[in-house]
């Protein structure tokens, strides 16, 4: 048996196919989920992929969070189901209050697209257990509204509880508070980040690695972490 991992498609989602592919390459069974249906199709985990749901009208993720499937996802997440939000998916998770804070327009106002180095600050979440604590990984980053903000008290809490899951290394690409690239909830099952691990899972189609061009696969362990965790508890 293997883990069934659902990937939600909203109107305007772009990276659902890549996320499904990442699940498959990691050894899981990818399942397409539709925003308009409340059914999670008996999946064991859910990925909210990147893109521009509802054109990012109003605010990034603001309209998508009211779709029928999100109610089911909030219930499942509160029950412990692993949920990963990537980029626009992270924005949806903050809008629906599964994760604190919010994302505003990049400080420099430019769309940014680059291979980004991150440090894994919490290797104990459902989506990071196959990394080493403090490991540095390179995955693509591409966003317009990627500046993570929260009030100082929330930021202090996140730091104190080890809930900053990823930090930008060397260069803060969007002005995010305290170089935060991704965070987790207290339980470690809900994780959100702006960079794109699903674009770094297959040699030849990833970011440049130290060894060779386009061969970076540093994002794969997100998916193998979730799958391994699910199979261990099955």
């Amino acid at each position: 048996m293997t883990a069934r991992i659902g990937v939600v498609t909203f109107p305007g989602t772009l990276d659902d196919r890549d996320a499904l592919r990442a699940v498959r390459i990691a050894g899981g069974e990818p399942v397409s989920l539709w925003h308009g249906s409340a059914s999670l199709e008996n999946v064991d985990a859910v990925v909210l992929p990147g893109g521009f749901s509802y054109g990012d009208y109003l605010r990034a993720g603001a309209i998508a969070r009211f779709s029928p499937i999100m109610e089911s996802i909030v219930d499942a997440a509160n029950g412990g189901m692993p949920v990963l939000g990537i980029c626009n998916g992270f924005q949806v998770l903050t809008e629906v209050h599964l994760l604190p804070g919010s994302m505003i327009k990049n400080e420099h106002l430019h769309f940014v697209c680059r291979d980004q180095v991150l440090r894994v600050e919490n290797a104990e979440t459902d989506w990071t257990s196959e990394y080493r604590q403090g490991e540095e990984i390179t995955v693509p980053l591409k966003n317009q509204d990627g500046q993570y903000v929260a009030d100082e008290r929330t930021l202090d809490e996140l730091e104190a509880e080890g809930r900053v899951a990823f930090r930008y290394v060397g260069f803060n690409p969007n002005g995010s508070r305290r170089d935060i690239a991704g965070i987790t909830n207290a339980r470690g099952n809900v994780v959100g980040l702006m960079p794109h691990p699903e674009h770094a899972v297959e040699p030849g189609f990833g970011p440049d690695s130290v060894e060779s061009g386009r061969n970076g696969t540093d994002g794969l362990a997100f998916f193998t972490s979730a799958i391994k965790g699910l199979l261990a508890t099955a």
């Binding site: 109003l58 605010r59 903050t94 604190p100 919010s102 505003i104 327009k105 420099h108 106002l109």
Partner: protein
């Protein structure tokens, strides 16, 4: 029919990159003396019937539920713009 105006602004403590860019453009164009620009959103909700307290209360609820994100924005005004018969 009546139109209700909802105004939303970024919280004072949140940097407003868009407002900053607009401010820089104003200076470039010679509109001197503008110390700061902050950019918000204005919504005009046209509703059927009379604007009762209950209707306004629902709009206020919508304003903090969907129209704004309380983490980064404040609803600074909810007011009846005009009433047409």
């Amino acid at each position: 029919m009546a139109t209700i105006l909802v105004s939303v602004m970024p919280k004072p403590e949140i940097l407003d990159p868009q407002g900053k860019a607009v401010g820089a453009a104003l200076a470039r164009l010679g509109f001197d003396g503008v110390e700061q620009v902050r950019q918000g959103k204005r919504f005009e909700l046209t509703v059927a019937g009379e604007v009762t307290d209950a209707v306004l209360e629902r709009v206020r609820e919508a304003a903090v539920t969907l129209l704004s994100n309380p983490v980064i924005e404040d609803v600074v005004a909810v007011e009846v713009l005009e009433t047409a018969q």
